[in-house]
Amino acid sequence: MHYPGRARILLFAAFAVLFVVTPSNGQTKARPTSQVPRMPDGKPNFTGLWQAMGTANWDIRDHSSQPGPFFQLGAIGAMPAGQGIVEGGEIPYTPAASAQQKENFKNRMKLDPEVKCYMPGIPRANYMPFPFQITQSQRDIAFAYEFATSNRVVNMGKFKAGPVDTWMGTSNGHWEGDTLVVDVTGLNGNSWFDRSGNFQTDTTHIVERFTLSDADHINYEATIEDKEIYTRPWKISTVLYRRKEKNVQLNEFKCVEYVEELIYGDLKKK
């Protein structure tokens, strides 16, 4: 675009004003960080009910809409199109792992832990189409997920290795400025990233980063590494939104009852 000389000066002045007005931010952040709720010690306060939007739980990669596996469900069961949350678009699987993912996808109604109401693991729990509650104390931080009443407590004290591998892993957290960094190990390897068979193993290591961009939005990033199945570390990033409805709260979704016929049906007395 071409600006006449005078306009150019005005534009420069406008930028200068922006810088002067928001000196503490340094950059051109639109929102002052004062909007971020804070604990008495000044740390950002993540307490509240959060939920992701988008379609990452269907497929964390870019995807077109598709029919669902059961025609009886009609449009309800179909998969919406969506922009993925994988930075760069592709998951750097080894060739064997890539074949495994395709096999998983083919058999997803049998193998996806979500179908069977199993705990979703990390990071999937954060972007399922269910809310989760963060309870942040002056020390540890509890995450209570609505799906399958799964949960985890992020230990903010001295690093503790998990005593045993688990579905939700062992979470150790620390602060890097205003970012909550959570190191997740001790995953049992049974969790998927989505309904498309993207998977992890019991050697997968995840580092999550939670940053409040304002009072009601968390920039969520996770770096995933596992030499067994990925050729390099890779990253997902999405936004978590604060649920704002009046008196909104975490509800109970104990889905075990809804999957017993599926899991044990052939063992019922005829």
């Binding site: 307490t47 309870t135 104390s137 407590v153 045993v164 008196n247 075990v256 044990y264 007395k269």
Partner: protein, 350 residues
């Protein structure tokens, strides 16, 4: 808790423990009138969170009252606490039990049962001072059931080696890995009694080891959710009365969990209202009381209470129960196999 996914085993052990109780002295433990840490109690003051609420945070367990009966044996009358002599006896039995737990193998020739070895169970660290978990009415007895409540179906709990196993619906909600309910998730049983309390401005959240429940309790005075929203764990609302956390919980589905071990026994109704009180007595002890008010199920309200303690090295583990519920698979497939064999035998006779 130590051993994930052994629900039925837990049940068997619970059954054994109950027998032991009935047959003789129990390992009790105690909710003393004085704090566990009585010496420190003199100088102890309730710590506050940086935002000014009483600080109850930590991982707590009701282990010390494992084995204490819900209803008081008649010989104790209206007496809630053991005498010093009775306590000393219980302390001795506790020591003996801990010795027994060290035995890792079954002696040769001894019949091996279906229950786990003794050392699988959590034990009281000190004898429970109480003669019953029911602390009010003064006779320590659960009020009578209503006529209708007596007709409610009680699903198969633990401790039955030959259960009806036509369907998963024959089994308790705990064996199905769904929930032990509000009282069942905190009342002392052989393991899995852990309660991790995490507080934030405006919330207290109680993370319970079994069955990975998280009770998110808002403190902002909001009304209960609509009566059309019902659940196993109900809808909790909290407030502070002095240093005591008071939690009122309603909106239960009803006809699911009961008050006996692991959320079994006669199921309570959708009219149930629990009022719980958490009062920290010292660095390592909370006095826990729960008033049970369900006019459809019990003739009158009553109160259960016991101590929650913090113990060195105690922590919650992930109780991935449903994910590894081989017991359900085995119970159902075993029953079908038995039926098949019986049918084949009958066919041969013809």
């Amino acid at each position: 808790m130590k051993y994930p996914c052994l629900v039925p085993v837990a049940a068997v052990v619970a059954g054994v423990a109950m027998f032991a109780l009935a047959a003789g002295p129990v390992l009790g433990q105690s909710a003393p009138p004085k704090s566990k840490a009585s010496p420190a109690a003199k100088t102890w003051t309730q710590p506050k969170t940086p935002w000014g609420d009483p600080d109850l945070q930590g991982t707590w367990t009701s282990d010390d009252c494992i084995g204490t009966p819900m209803n008081r044996p008649a010989n104790f009358g209206d007496r809630l606490y053991y005498t010093e002599q009775e306590l000393a006896d219980r302390q001795d039995r506790l020591k003996t039990q801990l010795q027994t737990d060290l035995v890792e193998t079954v002696a040769s020739g001894q019949r091996v049962g279906t229950g786990p070895p003794a050392h699988w169970a959590e034990r009281a660290r000190r004898p429970c001072r109480q003669t019953s978990l029911v602390i009010d009415p003064p006779n320590g007895k659960t009020p009578d059931l209503t006529a209708e409540a007596k007709t409610r179906r009680i699903p198969e709990g633990a401790g039955n080696n030959n259960p009806k196993a036509d369907s998963w619906e024959d089994f308790s909600y705990y064996i199905r890995c769904i929930s032990r309910g509000v009282p069942g998730s905190i009342f002392p049983v052989i393991y899995g009694n852990g309660q991790q309390i995490v507080q934030a401005p405006g919330f207290v959240t109680i993370m319970q080891e079994m069955v990975h429940e998280a009770r998110v309790i808002p403190l902002d005075g909001r009304p209960h959710a609509s009566p059309n929203i019902r659940s196993y764990m109900g809808d909790p609302r909290g407030r502070w009365e002095g240093n005591t956390l008071v939690v009122e919980t309603t909106n239960f589905l009803g006809n699911r969990n009961g008050l006996v071990g692991n959320g079994g026994g006669t199921p309570f109704s959708d009219a149930m209202k629990f009022t719980e009180r958490f009062t920290r007595l010292g660095p390592d002890e909370i006095a826990y009381k729960i008033t049970i008010d369900d006019p459809k199920t019990y003739a009158s309200p009553f109160t259960v209470g016991f101590p929650l303690t913090q113990e060195p090295g105690y922590q919650n583990f992930e109780y991935a129960c449903h994910e590894g519920n081989y017991a359900m698979f085995d119970s159902l497939s075993g029953a079908r196999a038995q039926e098949k064999r019986a049918a084949e035998a009958a066919a041969k006779k013809k």
